[in-house]
């Protein structure tokens, strides 16, 4: 359906040839943008109806007071299903600390939340295939678990800003959700609007980059580059300063895989873009000092590189 739309707009309406680079790029852009937005609306709406999207306040209640391994597992899984805006990371961090949740567990949550989200996963499954979606989730959960556990070894408590320990959090009685069908519908509509408003630009940029890649990069480009060992760390380092929402990364990954970039390299690049970002780091600087931030970034770079190498070896 979306292919036909692409054909119609690009080849019939604009009269571009399907052989030309510009025609191919534009076709990818039109078809993919339409497809992704249609999928997004459907996925977010259904998640909203099911109330599958959790708030950080509820995550905090679930995680506090659990034994560490269970706390970490819960935090990661809940992190994956909590849509999370990086502007909330400071209150979230303080809220977790105040609840007595170990810092390592909090870091696990901070890794899992932007990297894995159910909307991006469903999108990944429908655009590229469920096998890749599954691999991405499995690798993401592993990185979040191990990353937080390793951070803990370095006793990151000493790098938390002093004022964080002094904050006392009130218990808010948040309004009971309206669970009637009408209430759920209204909630789902708000979620669709809210999430689209937040991610649309990442999707457009992502599809744009994917389209350029699709149209102008020669098919055996990745092969010419060769599967050298440093292609994975290079992809991770290239992805670190780039930032996009996990959803926006999907079309880029789609185009990379089509052009024959190795699976592990693509996965590592995706994770790096979605999780490591300079604005996010600067926001976290308000609660933790530079050594902890450097450690956080370092652990992630190493973890993504290992994931990339691992998958490249397996495939």
């Amino acid at each position: 359906m979306f292919e036909i739309l692409g054909d119609l707009v690009v080849f019939k309406l604009l009269g571009l040839s399907g052989e030309s680079a510009a025609g191919q790029a534009l076709h990818f852009f039109v078809a993919d943008t339409a497809k992704i937005f249609a999928l997004l609306v459907a996925i977010i709406y259904v998640m909203g109806l099911l109330r599958a999207l959790l708030s950080p306040e509820r995550v905090r209640t679930f995680v506090r007071g659990q034994p560490k391994w269970l706390a970490r597992s819960t935090a990661i899984i809940l992190g994956a299903v909590t849509p999370f805006c990086s502007c909330s990371s400071v209150p979230l961090f303080i809220g977790f600390v105040e609840a007595g949740i170990p810092l390592g567990v909090t870091f696990s949550f901070l890794i899992a939340s932007p990297m894995i989200n159910e909307v991006a996963v469903v999108l990944l499954a429908s655009l590229i295939g469920w096998q890749l979606a599954l691999l991405y989730v499995a690798a993401g959960l592993a990185v979040a678990y191990a990353g937080g556990a390793i951070m803990e070894r370095f006793r990151p408590e000493r790098w938390v800003e002093d004022y964080v320990w002094k904050i006392h959090m009130g218990e808010a009685a948040l309004a009971e959700p309206d669970n009637s069908l009408r209430g759920r519908h209204a909630y789902a509509m708000t979620e669709v609007r809210e999430i689209l408003r937040r991610v649309w630009k990442w999707v457009v940029i992502g599809v744009g980059v994917g389209a350029l890649f699709h149209g102008f990069v020669p098919l055996d480009w990745a092969k010419q580059l060769g599967d050298v060992w440093y292609s994975v760390p290079a992809a991770v380092l290239a992805g670190a300063p780039l930032y996009s929402n996990a959803i926006g990364v999907v079309p880029v990954a789609e185009a990379m895989l089509v052009k024959g970039v190795a699976l592990g390299t693509t996965l590592a690049f995706m994770m790096s873009i979605a999780t490591l970002s300079i604005p996010e780091m600067l926001i976290l600087r308000k609660v933790i000092k530079w050594p902890a931030l450097a450690l956080f970034a370092g652990v992630l770079v190493v973890a993504f590189t290992l994931v990339g190498w691992g998958f490249n070896l397996l495939t």
Binding site: E57, S88, P91, G170, E194
Partner: protein, 77 residues
């Protein structure tokens, strides 16, 4: 006069929420004591972790996103 506070440390959604409430109040002809709470300790004291949050007459009525128009109207009426 109703006392309304918008909790949020200056992110864009918080700004949007503040403007939305101001706008709805103007349209309905309600005068509000509208205030931004940007101090993180003060925000947390309300038990809110996901900003923006909205407090009406000392009670948290909303957290974690820009509220929709209907909701805002219901707080002000």
């Amino acid at each position: 006069m109703k006392e309304v506070k918008v909790l949020g440390s200056g992110c864009r959604n918080c700004e949007t929420t503040y403007k939305l409430i101001q706008q709805v109040a103007d349209e309905c002809g309600v005068t509000l004591a509208l205030e931004k709470v940007q101090d993180i300790a003060a925000i947390m004291a309300y038990g809110v972790m996901s900003t923006p949050g909205v407090v009406v007459e000392g009670k948290v009525v909303h957290a974690g996103g820009v509220p929709d128009r209907k909701k805002v109207e219901s707080w002000l009426s």
